[in-house]
């Protein structure tokens, strides 16, 4: 979490290898990804990472099924495997009814679930979500976050989510607060209920936003 301009998206871009770091190293799955060759990078990106975006990033010309399939076909996966995996994921995210619909026929929440399905269908070790609830109403947000929890529990997927919404953040197990490009604070949920965790988050957010020295 962090205010605008704190460097959340930059961090995400560095992890996702879209951007390169100037100093330091990024280690994922015991692999240092900062000095990978282009080919290896591309492979890493498509196999180890899944992306979820605020604007869904679905292709409007493709059906939901095809959107999900695309993530697999670019890895040249076996055809039988593709269909099996899609059906599996769709069931988990409860979108199997709408696989043959086009994005414009889906609601925002449904779109984001399709996008999530696309992100996890490759069974990545890390899912990167950039403000996934940013464009959703609160009900859809809750549904999506519920399915994230489910993914985390049942698929053991690690989800790295960027948000500045405290409610969304309260679904996480561990929160890093960033300010001006530095880690400002860290919260670990532990055995707290979501309500307790949410209150703790709010305290930090107040602290983050209320830089009293500067006001005076």
């Amino acid at each position: 979490m962090g205010p605008s301009g704190s460097g959340k998206t930059t961090l995400l871009n560095c992890i996702s290898t879209i951007d390169t770091v100037t100093t330091g190293r990024i280690v994922i799955n015991k692999k240092d990804i900062t000095n990978l060759k282009i080919k290896a990078l591309e492979e890493f990106r498509s196999k180890e990472l899944g992306f979820i975006f605020q604007d869904f990033n679905l292709l409007d010309t493709l059906t939901a099924y095809e959107n999900i399939a695309l993530a697999l076909t670019i890895q040249n996966m076996a055809i039988k495997e593709i269909d099996k995996r899609i059906q599996q994921v769709a069931k988990k995210l409860e979108i199997n009814e709408m696989l043959n619909k086009y994005p414009f026929q889906l609601s925002g929440g449904q779109k984001q679930r399709v996008a999530s399905a696309r992100a996890i269908v490759t069974e990545p070790s890390l899912i990167l979500a950039d403000e996934p609830t940013g464009a959703l109403d609160s009900k859809s947000s809750r549904l999506l976050l519920d399915s994230f929890e489910k993914l985390n529990r049942e698929f053991n997927s690690t989800i790295l989510m960027v948000t500045h919404d405290s409610f969304t953040a309260s679904y996480a197990n561990r929160i890093l607060f960033i300010k001006d490009g530095r880690i400002f604070n860290e919260l670990i949920r532990g055995n707290d209920t979501r309500k307790e965790f949410f209150n703790k988050i709010m305290e930090v957010v107040t602290l983050l936003g209320g830089d009293v020295d500067n006001v005076l």
Binding site: E42, R45, S46, L49, F51, F53, N57, L58, L59, D60, T61, L62, E66, A69, L70, A71, L72, T73, I74, N76, I79, I82, F104, R118
Partner: protein
């Protein structure tokens, strides 16, 4: 300040809108080249013939006007694309407080600059191209360019400047109108508009596709059966069928195709094929109308180029059996008149004081018409339709005949031995072997001809393919009849043939061509009322070559303009589509599609988009050309030359589109 903005915009446009410049420059270049024809050496040679000169000028002017309409439409269309693309930029000017009037001024200045640059480059390029064209012309006309000259045609430059000036002027007016209509809000939010896929239903797409195939096949069969006869209303129906078949084809093909490919998972689920397929489906589906137009235009172009180049070959061949006499003339007999001065060409020459030189060999003879017609003669070997066609093509009608003594005097001057015929024998002279199989069959199976009540034996087994005169029309059919033939004979014309002495060839040619030109200009009408028409062999050759040249020019001119128009429209559609699909490419990149894969996808899309209409056009053309084959016979040269022209221009557009789209996708992070 404003001119600075305009100049910078133009500079940027050179990079971004290379297709627009390519089109403008090529258009000017071709326009100049063809209009410079008049001042080319080879044509100047021919221009001594006044008829040729006039008709060439008229044809080129007429075609130029038609072409400038086509180009005007194309340029306005292309310009419209660019303005649309720049809506946002113009919107920003407006939010900065620039009044519309000033924006118009910038655009005006830009159009002027672009026009100026493309005109200059186009004319310079045209001057180069026209040199090559000059060689082609010389080749077609069989003129030896002994002294090669670098020609710049001032009149063509002026014409290009005037015509394109008017077109650019229209573009300017059009831009002003467009700008005045725009609202600021629309300009800033001009991006994002999804094409609507018109046909999604699998069943209907299969149905429409099947219908289109049925229509096209029926049209093909019909055209192959009836041939290309413009007078036939059947052809009109066939054309309509073909047009609608093509329209339905492009309307349904992509949807149909997608349903087929979906079944084949190996192709469908490979790489980003899903995306490519959907993109193409979208594009062809939204642009099916222009696709149809382009396909038909390409079809026309291919057929035009083929025919144009091939006419030349056909004419060369038609001159083959027509070389024996250096000059021939005939007097059209007026059978109402008894005055020999009006009906005898010998008397006529005396009247106008024309005498043959000693070194010139000549023969006088008369042509008659028999009561027997050609279609009756061959009736056993012709179907009813063929008989009708023969008459319609001016190949039927009463048979011409020439008396044996006349024929022998013609043979004498050509140095051939004279022929003996008994009173009941005839000879058949004809070129009809090339036109119909009926004549060789007739000659093989029949030994005699019945004329009125009398039976005549045919002395030769195969028709003699030597014409009895130098003639523009290469088809002939004569009977050589005995001198004492007593059937019905009507005097048709009195004639003479001349063969020059090779040593005095130029002098004789000069004398006779002057004589014939003077006769054509009615210079002797007050001396003698008779109508006499003559041609020297050289005049015939020139006229036929001139005709070939004209057809080739006009064919090339129109063909090139059509190719440019089609390719430019497709390129522009591709480019505008690329900027509309930017979001999609961005989405692809974000889910891990590599740049290499994206470039490949762009290549595949451009390829399919460019070659879908071309492929159907080629199929159309093959059928069309086979149908035309009855009129022309084709050879490989024309295939190579036409393919070369088509390939180069189409290829250049295809490649620049590919590069352009790649750049849009690569740099387009807006």
């Amino acid at each position: 300040m404003f001119s600075k903005i305009a100049v910078n915009n133009v500079k940027r446009s050179f990079r971004d809108y290379s297709i627009y410049f390519l089109t403008l420059t090529l258009a000017v270049c071709i326009f100049y080249s063809f209009n410079s024809i008049e001042s080319q050496n080879a044509i100047l040679e021919l221009n001594k013939n006044p008829i040729f000169h006039d008709s060439l000028n008229k044809l080129i002017t007429g075609t130029s006007i038609f072409v400038s309409f086509v180009l005007g439409g194309l340029i306005i269309y292309a310009n419209n694309f660019l303005i649309k693309k720049r809506k946002k930029e113009l919107g920003i000017y407006m939010t900065l407080g620039m009044p519309k009037r000033k924006i118009s001024k910038i655009l005006l200045f830009e159009t002027f600059l672009i026009g100026l640059v493309s005109l200059i480059v186009g004319i310079l390029l045209g001057i180069l191209v026209s040199q090559g064209l000059s060689l082609l012309v010389a080749n077609i006309l069989g003129v030896n360019l002994n002294h090669y000259q670098f020609i710049i045609s001032l009149s063509a430059v002026i014409k290009s400047v005037v015509y394109f000036g008017i077109i650019y002027g229209l573009v300017m007016i059009f831009n002003q109108y467009t700008i005045s209509k725009y609202k600021l809000i629309d300009m800033l939010h001009a991006s994002k508009k999804n094409e609507e896929v018109k046909l999604k239903n699998a069943f209907i797409s299969v149905l429409v596709f099947t219908l289109s195939v049925i229509l096209l096949v029926t049209a093909y069969v019909r055209v192959l059966e009836t041939g290309l006869d413009a007078a036939n209303t059947e052809l009109f129906i066939t054309v309509i069928m073909g047009v609608f078949g093509t329209l339905f084809f492009f309307f349904s093909t992509s949807s149909f195709f997608i349903h087929v490919v979906k079944k084949n998972k190996k192709v469908y689920l490979k790489g980003i094929n899903i995306f490519i397929l959907r993109q193409i489906n979208n594009k062809i589906n939204t642009n099916f109308l222009s696709m149809t137009l382009i396909c038909l235009m390409l079809f026309l172009t291919i057929t035009l180029l083929f025919t144009a180049f091939d006419l030349k070959g056909t004419i060369d061949r038609s001159l083959e059996g027509n070389k024996e006499f250096d000059a021939s003339a005939f007097l059209v007999v007026d059978n109402e008149s008894e005055d020999p001065r009006e009906n005898d060409i010998e008397e006529y020459l005396k009247d106008i004081n024309f005498t043959f030189e000693n070194n010139e060999k000549y023969a006088f003879y008369s042509e008659y018409k028999l009561s027997l017609t050609i279609e009756d003669l061959l009736s056993d070997y012709l179907s009813e339709q063929e008989q009708v066609d023969l008459v319609k093509d001016y190949l039927g009608g009463p048979m011409s005949a020439i008396k044996l003594s006349d024929y022998n005097s013609i043979l004498e001057i050509t140095g051939n031995e004279s022929i003996q015929l008994s009173d009941d024998e005839v000879l058949v002279l004809s070129s009809y072997d090339n036109i119909t199989d009926a004549l060789p069959e007739f000659m093989e199976n029949e030994d005699s001809i019945q004329i009125e009540d009398k039976e005549y034996t045919i002395k030769n087994d195969v028709a003699i393919e030597k014409n009895i005169k130098a003639n523009l029309d290469s088809d002939f059919f004569y009977l050589v009849i005995p001198d004492n033939f007593d059937g019905d004979l009507e005097l048709e014309s009195t004639n003479f043939n001349v063969i020059y002495d090779e040593r005095y060839f130029d002098e004789s040619e000069e004398r006779f061509s002057t004589l014939f030109n003077d006769m054509w200009d009615n210079k002797y009408r007050d001396v003698s009322p008779a109508l006499v028409i003559g041609n020297t062999l050289n005049q015939i050759k020139d006229r036929q070559n001139g005709m070939a040249a004209m057809v080739v020019f006009i064919g090339l001119f129109l063909g090139l303009i059509f190719i440019i128009s089609s390719a430019a429209v497709m390129a522009l559609q591709q480019l505008s589509d690329a900027s509309e699909s930017l979001g999609r490419y961005k989405a692809l990149k974000r889910i891990g599609v590599t740049e290499r894969m994206i470039n490949k996808a762009i290549l595949k899309q451009s390829f399919i988009y460019f070659f879908a209409p071309l492929s159907l056009a080629i199929v159309h053309s093959i059928v069309g050309i086979i149908a035309l084959n009855d009129i022309f016979s084709f050879h490989y040269e024309s295939i190579i030359v036409s393919t070369l022209f088509l390939g180069i221009i189409y290829g250049v557009y295809f490649y620049s589109t590919y590069v352009g789209v790649k750049n849009v996708v690569k740099n387009g992070n807006s």
